[in-house]
C-alpha cells in the first residue's frame, strides 16, 4: 500500500480537471498571469498531457504596467516549453490616458484587465478558460465551482451554479456561453509554495528579495520599475531589499521588505506572516464583497 500525500492528491485532481476540459471543450485557453499560481498551473498542464505538448494557448492580459521581470520570464517560459502565447491589451484605454496613477482602481481594473480579457475570449471564440483562482484566497471564491459558467456577456451568477459531485464535471453549455475552470481551486497558498519548492518550478525573480528602488506611498511600498513611474514632489526612490507575495500592475502592487532569497526563506516568511497575500493588492480593497461584484462583471 502506498499513501498519497496531500500534494499528490491535489496534483492528481488538477490533472484530472485539465484532461476533462480538453476532452470536452472545443477551444480551451489558459489565463496566464505569469505569477506563482499560473506557474503551478502550467506545470500541472504539462504533466497532464505529457508526452504531448500543452494542447491550448496561453492568454496573458497585459495592462502595459507589468513588471519588466515578469514579461521577460513570460517570454522565456513560452520559448522554452514551445507554448503559444496570446497577449491581450487595451490600447484604446491607454490612448484615453487611463493609467494606474490618475484613474480610480475600479475603472482602471475594468479598463485594463476585465475588458481586454473579455474581448480576447470573445474574439478568439474560447469556450473554456483555465484560471488560477484558489478557494482559500477570498470568501467569494470559496463558493465558486471548479467549472464556473459565464453567460455570453461573461457574467457570473452565483445564485445559479451547477452542483458538482464526486469528480464529475458537467461541461455542457449553450452557444455563446463559456466556462471558467479553476484546476487549483483546492490548493492553498502554502500548497502552492510547497509544490514549487518540491517540483523546482521556475518562478519570476520578483518573488525573491533583492535591492530594488522603492517609494513609500499610501501605506504601500512601491517599486519604481521604469521611468514612467510618477514621483510626487519631494519623493525619491530609495533602495530597499524587497520582494512580492503577489504580482499585479507594478504601480498598484505593494512589496514587502525581506531578506528571503531562497525558496524556503519565502515559505518561512509566508508562514510567519500576519497579513493575507491579497493585502498587497489595491484592487481588492473597498467594500468587503467587492471581489464578488468584480466576478459578476467578469473579472477572473
Amino acid at each position: 500500500m502506498r499513501n498519497l500525500t496531500h500534494l499528490e492528491r491535489l496534483e492528481a485532481e488538477s490533472i484530472h480537471i485539465f484532461r476533462e476540459v480538453v476532452a470536452e471543450a472545443e477551444n480551451p485557453v489558459m489565463l496566464y498571469s505569469v505569477g506563482k499560481d499560473s506557474s503551478v498551473m502550467l506545470h500541472l498542464a504539462r504533466k497532464a498531457f505529457h508526452p504531448a505538448p500543452v494542447p491550448f494557448p496561453m492568454l496573458h492580459v497585459a495592462s502595459g504596467w507589468d513588471f519588466q521581470d515578469l514579461l521577460a520570464h513570460r517570454d522565456r517560459t513560452v520559448r522554452e516549453y514551445g507554448l503559444k502565447l496570446i497577449v491581450a491589451a487595451n490600447e484604446e484605454a491607454e490612448a484615453q490616458g487611463i493609467n494606474p496613477f490618475d484613474t480610480g482602481s475600479a475603472l482602471y481594473s475594468q479598463a485594463q484587465l476585465t475588458d481586454p480579457l473579455k474581448r480576447a475570449l470573445t474574439t478568439h471564440g474560447f469556450d473554456a478558460a483555465f484560471g488560477g483562482g484558489r478557494r482559500d484566497e477570498e470568501k467569494a471564491r470559496a463558493k465558486e465551482r471548479i467549472f464556473s459558467f459565464r453567460n455570453a456577456a461573461h457574467r457570473w451568477d452565483p445564485k445559479n451554479q451547477r452542483p458538482e459531485l464526486w469528480n464529475l464535471y458537467n461541461a455542457k453549455k449553450a452557444k455563446g456561453e463559456s466556462i471558467r475552470v479553476f484546476p487549483i481551486s483546492n490548493w492553498t497558498e502554502l500548497d502552492i509554495w510547497q509544490y514549487i519548492a518540491l517540483e523546482k518550478i521556475d518562478i519570476v525573480p520578483l518573488y525573491f528579495s533583492k535591492p530594488r528602488p522603492t517609494v513609500q506611498r499610501d501605506g504601500m511600498l512601491l517599486v519604481v520599475d521604469d521611468d514612467r513611474f510618477r514621483l510626487e514632489p519631494g519623493e525619491a526612490p530609495v533602495m530597499r531589499s524587497v520582494r512580492f507575495r503577489t504580482l499585479g500592475c507594478y504601480p498598484l502592487t505593494g512589496a514587502t521588505e525581506s531578506d528571503a532569497i531562497a525558496m524556503n526563506d519565502i515559505i518561512q516568511e509566508m508562514l510567519l506572516a500576519t497579513g493575507s497575500e491579497r493585502q498587497g493588492r489595491a484592487i481588492d480593497k473597498g467594500q468587503s464583497a467587492s471581489m464578488e461584484d468584480k466576478k459578476q462583471e467578469g473579472y477572473f
Binding site: L4, A12, R135, L165, N167, A174, L271, S288
Partner: protein
Amino acid sequence: MDTPSSSFRTDALIAKDIDAYLDAHQHKSLLRFITCGSVDDGKSTLIGRLLYDSKMIFEDQLAALESDSIKHGTQGAEIDFALLVDGLAAEREQGITIDVAYRFFTTEKRKFIVADTPGHEQYTRNMVTGASTADLAVILVDARKGVLQQTRRHSYLVHLLGIRHVVLAVNKMDLVGYDQGVFDRIVADYRAFATSIGIAGFTALPISGFKGDNITAASANTPWYEGPSLIHHLETVELDTAAAQGAPFRMPVQWVNRPNLDFRGFAGQIASGTIRPGDAVRIVPSGKTSTVKTISTFDGDLDEAVAGQSVTITLADEVDCSRGDLIAAAGDPPQASDQFCATFVWMDEAALKPGRGYWLKIGTQTVTATVQPPKYEIDVNSLEHLAARTLTLNAIGVAEFATDRPIAFEPYEANRQLGGFILIDKFTNATVAAGMIAFSLRRADNVHWQPVAITREDHAGMKNQTPRVLWFTGLSGSGKSTIANEVEKQLFLMNRHTFLLDGDNVRHGLNRDLGFTETDRIENIRRVGEVAKLMADAGLIVLTAFISPFRAEREMVRKMLPEGEFIEIFVDTPLEVVEARDVKGLYKKAREGKLKNFTGIDSPYEPPEYPEIRVNTVDMTAAEAARYIIDRILPLK
C-alpha cells in the same frame, strides 16, 4: 479562548528550522470532511474556530472580521467566527449560508478540506454535493436541543452518500453546564437512530465551538470525557486507502494521448486498485484484452500506480480504446449493462420527466438515459417509502434507468467513483440529479436483437427510394396536418411509397391510454418515433404531424434514425394567428380554463433551433408550403 500554545502550528519550528518543518509537511495526508447541522447548531462558528486556531486567519482578515462582527454579528461584542465562512454578500443579508463553501486548514499531521453546507431542508442538494467528496462527516447537535429531525435527515444523507466515518459533535456544551448526563442521553438517542439506518459506528464528542472546548485539546470543563479532541480525531482517523488500493484495478479513460505515431497512451485517474507494467487488462465494454506496457508520467515511467493517481497507460497491443471506456483488471472486470436500479436525488426546479432522455455522466462516459417512474420516494425525515410519479427539487427516490448503450459501472457501495452519476437536462444543460447505482438489471442480456435477412437497404431498394421521416412540428392549428397531407398527395403522384402518422388519429388507437400531461406527451412522441422508425426501416417515407412541443423528444426521435433521415419541418405560424383562427375552438376553451395543459397557453412550446425546413401559413398557402418542402427533400433516391 484557547491559549496560542494549543494552536496546531509550531511557529517555533518554522522560525528555527524551516527545512525540517517543510519536510514534515510534505508528507502529510489529506482528509476531506463535511460538517452538517441545522441553522443554529453553530456549524459556521465551529469551522471559523478551526480556521482561527490553525492560524489560517491573517491580521487583515481578522480586522475585517472584527468590523464585520459589529455590523452583522450575532455574538454581541465578541468575534463572530461564523462571519469568516459566510461568504456571499447576498447570504450575509439573509443571515444564513445557502451554498457549499470549501475551507482549508492544516495541522501537523494532515491537510483538511472542509465542505460547509447549510442545514436548511430545501438545501438537500447542497449537502449531497458536499458529501460526495467527503471521507468523514461531522454531525453537529445542539446540546440543548438533542437529536432533531434535521440530525436524522443529515445522517441519512451522509450514509446514503457512502461516508463511512461519522463524528457526532454535541456542541454548545457550555450552555448546559458541561453536564455529562445531557451528553450521554444525546449519544444514546443517536445510537438508536444510527443503528436503525445502518450506520455501523460513530465517534461522539462533547464540544463548544464558541468557547473552544475539546476542539484542539482536552477541555478542563469535561473531566468525565476521556476521548480525543476533535482535531486529534480528525488527524488520526484511518483513511480507506488500503481497501481502495486492494480492490480490482479500474481506470476510466479520459483522453487518448497520441502526440506522434510511436506513442498511444490512455490518460485517466485510477478509480480503484493498483497497476504495474505487465498486468493483464480488459477494455470495458468491448471486452478486448491486452497487457500494460508502461505507466507513463511527466516524472518518468512508474513501476506501480495506485487508486487516486492520474497517469497515462500504454498497452502492448493496438486495441480500440477511447474516452468513456474503462481499463480494468483482465480477470475481474466490472459489469457493463444498459439497465440498472439507482437511488437518486433530484436537484432541479423542474421535476423529473419519466421517459424523457437525459444525459447521464458516469466516470468519463456520457450517454442518453431514460428514467422509469420512481418505484418510490424516500421521505428524508421519516425514511418512509412514499408512492411517487416523479421527483421534485430535493426529493430522493429509487427508480430503474435505461441507457442507449451499455455502460461500465460498479455498485456505488463498492466504489463511489464508478457508481455515482449525474443527470444533465439536454435542453437547459443543468445538472438535474445525482444518482447512486444499486444494482444492474440483467434484462438487457436476455433480449437480443433478432438478425434479419432482408435489410432496411433491401426494403428501400425495392421501393426505389430513400427512406425519410418528415417530422412536422408546430402549435395546434398551425397547419401541420394540412401541409403534411398536401406533401403526401404530391409524393404519391410521384410514385413514392409514403405513410402519414397524424396526431389526432394515433391518439384514437395506439396512444389512446395517454393524456396530455408532460410525461404522457413524452411517451406519445416516443411511441410515434418508434413506429416511424419501423416504417422507415421498411423503406417508407413517413410523414408525422404532431405538436411535439419539447426539443428533447424531437432530438430523441432524430437519434433513433440514421444520420440525415430525420427531417424536422417547423410549421412556424405564430400563436396570435393560430389563436385568431382557432379552427377547432380549442384555444377559446384553453383560455377559459376548460382545457388544461394546452400548448402555447399553459404548456410550453419549444421551437426548433435549427430545423431542416421552416414554413408557415401566413406568407404561403398550404400547397405552396408543400411544394417548398418537396423541392428541398428531392430527389429521395
